[in-house]
Symmetry: D3
Subunit: 248 residues, 6 copies
């Protein structure tokens, strides 16, 4: 039995609040257990220098935590004057994942800035960020569709992420909270599309190692969890779900 | 009549949600109209080097905005690698204001870190931060009292802040929202104690000037608004209100 | 009686040396008691990006201290790699104050860089900077007038600043030196125009508070001191004084 | 047929030069095809603050490229004043991987600094770095054993890394060079121990996706390549190979 | 004939004002033609980490220019967030030169911070800084002698610097002003002791070259100029001159 | 007799490996005794802003050391976030020296980036860098000649550097290794052209002083060493040697 009484293959409660912040084109608050992330997608009418003049758009992500999102207060990265390696790793992952399900040729020379700000952390902040950021992106494109700025939804498929891991003793579990995560021997983040393809797999023996069999078991758990997350996402975006894939 | 139909001397709706984030010793979400700030107070069991060994505590504040708290997305200060002058000015103000109503000799060699993170901005973010931060500080000390870490509430009086300003045409108004603030000819922030004393007055002719009479009118409006804010604060902190001032 | 035998409403000796440095378009050394600030105004033939193409000019200020301007040597901000919050606060204040008495539409797309470098500090460095910077700006515009680059003096009124404060014991005094300033319970900086209007009022209970009556007393002292400073300024700028206000 | 005539499951030529630089406790030049990395392991007689007083050691890695290691010259990270996200991601990976095969309790309060400096890049620099860094670490511990500073080899198993990927058209291949890597649809880095366990798997659909079958095929190729690398490593470290695992 | 009518071997007018700033232990304003540098020497009662516990002192120098010391305004190094290569080169030179004539064992574990701040520049700022800094150091030690903090003057000999150069056309000249310096084909800075020994020679063909004969001519000119500078220095420091060398 | 048995006027063994790295237009590994520097010259088809539109080219140099090039590991400058004064001084020297023997009007609006990366250090790294960088520059221009991008070799003369110094006891020696250098009382770097003219002389009494006679002796030693270095350079560049000077 897990510390919070869940089954090995059971996700934490997930809640997604649409239009959480009033200014962004797309905004959600995603809650996965006690992890809470504000995901805002902002549309900017230009692209980074390396893309100018190609008629293509761009999506980039930034990730941060409030100083006291965690049990111990962390020094702000703005005070330190630099972004940590962990933060960079996560925001590169989120951006890459989102770009895998968006047709960059379908929304002109625009940039989508996706900000994932963790206001409360209890494990799985990067996977919650991806799952929530996907909704924020769909909503932002929804607002461009409504304003007739674009004609087709540039999102090509659903996208979600979850974590799986091996606890001490060898049990493979789905969707680890902080307490489990900090003890886990193996930690794996999986990003998948609605079609069931992998976008990213990052498995780390936390200064330990794992076998081929453990890998197979972990991927199976991730698969199972993903289905529930996609259902939740569909419910939140409503009619926009039908427009996903229409640029293909 | 004002853009949002308020009277000249009418505050915006104010709402304060206690224990908004689970980890900090004191945490509130304060909403003033559409301005929303998370105020977290964290207790650290040591003081900055300049105070070590004196048996005194310290309170310091940090202030930040989510990139899309505003109408246009702002670049993160962590990405720019430095904190702006505006941010520094505000966090110095919040810290100074809080220290004016806390007995630094009454909670040992501890630091209270007060983080004010604006998640949605519509004018008056610095004054909302002070008003909310005060509650977070009271709650944090409340948790130290409960754990018997300290015996008396180190807070000596209530503390709140609001803005007043002169609109084009010459009307003096209370509690400006963003639209008013961006057009105002004079902008003044007032920080007061429950006893009706000033802690800080910052009046700026925004590249304009103001007369002695205008100054008097503005201070009167601030006075009036302050009473309502103190009532709201009392309601939120409940029984802890009675302990304020007990170190005197 | 004050530490330096002055009356409560008496300014320190003030001396302003014109054309102190040879390269700048406007340059003065201002001495207020033992506080000495070099104020240089430099004309640059372009404006910051946010103003380009609007036919308007800009004025911006920078403030710094030599490391040993003070009793204890301070680390250079260039060595620390960042500008302190105090410095930013002061240079924002100086720039804002100067812009309140200059017609930005009257000198083309030019920037006036006003550098206030404190070479010796004994309290009141920010107010001495404003008083001196005003002269440097008038002189710089004087040199543009002489070269026929502009036809009218863009300065619309005189501008000066001074400090007032409440000493322990409750005496309100004018123009505090360092010794007084470091003990003061309330510290207020007042920036005024020659017409007697306020540009900026910044009053701080230094981790203390102040009453409405004290505020009134402080403003009265500031008023009195200001008149002497304007006289001094007029004397220094000579004939240029007559041209002030001619764009109105 | 691949661009350099290799079979799909064929590694590039690998050469490892021991004692390449004279000062470090362990030093190798590893060449994998045209990729050349200097891996230096330096012993420092203290640990980072978070480990002090625990009797444990630490291993950390840094990774960098000479500006012209690549086809186009890159600006130095020291000139930019910050380390890129890519660099941080790689050096965190190398450090984590090395720690998974070293008993941190077996060499006292010492830090092993492992510097991987790419002097020529042609794809696979991070995996070559891990494979080479492992040897540098073994050599550094070998020198501590020789000086009798430690009594047992703290390395618990062999460690190597390689890349696998899916080329356009769908062919899965082993050990991609730069030309292949820049076109690959899927890119996966695999880090394994001599015992055949995974330490890290990082698979990325480069803004694309991949199926479960492709994943299986990639892992199989990685497995095959790994065996040859371990043979090469054994040959280079000679007698020290026998001491690996002796702390278990 | 030179641009300012001087002979080839003639120094510019030099003036040294003692006790220019009131706070530092030693302070001078040195004027060499139109070049003006404030040199302040501050005593700190500790040494940098690498010297702690050895009973030795340290001397270090910092050099800066006011933004408008030059004909065109320069951006502050504090605003740029870094110190330029030129600045670093100069301050390293000043520190090294001063240390060559001070017995570091003769003033306990103290640091002398020597700040050279150029308020007006017209060529030769680094040599004027050295010549002035030497006086500031002697005065600072004088103040320690007076307070009986030390018993013997740690300065072992006089120290001064000047520049020599080759103008277009081939004339070798002494003490170049800015106009000459910016056209010179060869530029050489010479630092010497009162005993006539070299401390530092830095000769640069400014993207040109120079012959052995030119070198000899330049050194001869430097020699001649140095004698006048030492006379000036002796006059300024008065009785302290007799104590120079007493630790030998 | 010297620590490595050399005569006072004897250079260390020098070896230069052409085309060491495959990507740069010009690349060498230079070894001077145990000092090893990779010198890469990269051609970029544009010039810095201050030269644009003038039809001229530019040469700039960067210098760095691998962290463990030295006996003790140094922290990376990229980790510290800034380039040290020593590094800046050296890279400015290398760039200036190279520009003295290149006709900047003879290769169009291009920049030559010359990277000198010390992989192993045993004294004389800056002079080895200059000697090696010269070859890399010649090779890079050779590749432009071969591609017919330019028609004449822009290099106007040979260029090399060496160090000379005075050891404790007073012996003047040529080409100091690290052990000698760290003890030397005087240290001088000399950069010369093939025609025997000086480009740069930097002599430093390392917190000591030196006489005119010692200076003469040092320059004589440098002269002698230089001839051998030019022979070595000629041998390495082969036929390109004949093209040097053809733009004159």
């Amino acid at each position: 039995m897990r510390v919070d009484q869940r089954e090995a293959d059971q996700l934490r409660n997930m809640s997604i609040t649409k239009d959480f912040i009033m200014h962004p084109e797309g905004s959600v608050l995603i809650e996965v257990g006690d992890t809470k992330v504000i995901c805002n997608a902002s549309v900017e009418d230009r692209v980074p220098p390396f893309l100018r003049g190609q008629g293509k758009g761009w999506i980039t992500a930034e990730y941060a935590m409030l100083p006291r999102a965690t049990d111990q207060r962390n020094i702000r990265e703005s005070s330190k004057g630099k972004v940590s390696g962990r933060t960079m790793e996560i925001q590169r992952l989120i951006g890459r994942a989102l770009r895998s399900v968006v047709d960059l040729n379908a929304f002109g020379e625009r940039t989508l800035w996706v900000d994932c700000d963790v206001i409360q952390a209890d494990g799985g902040t990067r996977t919650a960020s991806i799952t929530g950021a996907f909704i924020a992106v769909v909503l932002a494109f929804g607002s461009l569709l409504e304003k007739k700025t674009i004609k087709k939804m540039p999102v090509t498929d659903f996208l979600a992420a979850t974590s799986v891991g091996v606890l001490p003793g060898g049990d493979a579990v789905l969707d680890l909270n902080y307490e489990e995560d900090s003890k886990a021997e193996v930690d794996m983040n999986v990003v998948m599309t609605g079609a069931g393809e992998y976008v990213e797999i990052q498995g780390t023996g936390e200064e330990a190692t794992f076998s081929r069999d453990q890998l197979a078991k972990l991927l199976e758990l991730a698969d199972k969890g993903m289905k529930d997350i996609f259902d939740k996402q569909k419910e939140v975006i409503g009619d926009l779900a039908d427009r996903i894939g229409e640029t293909k």
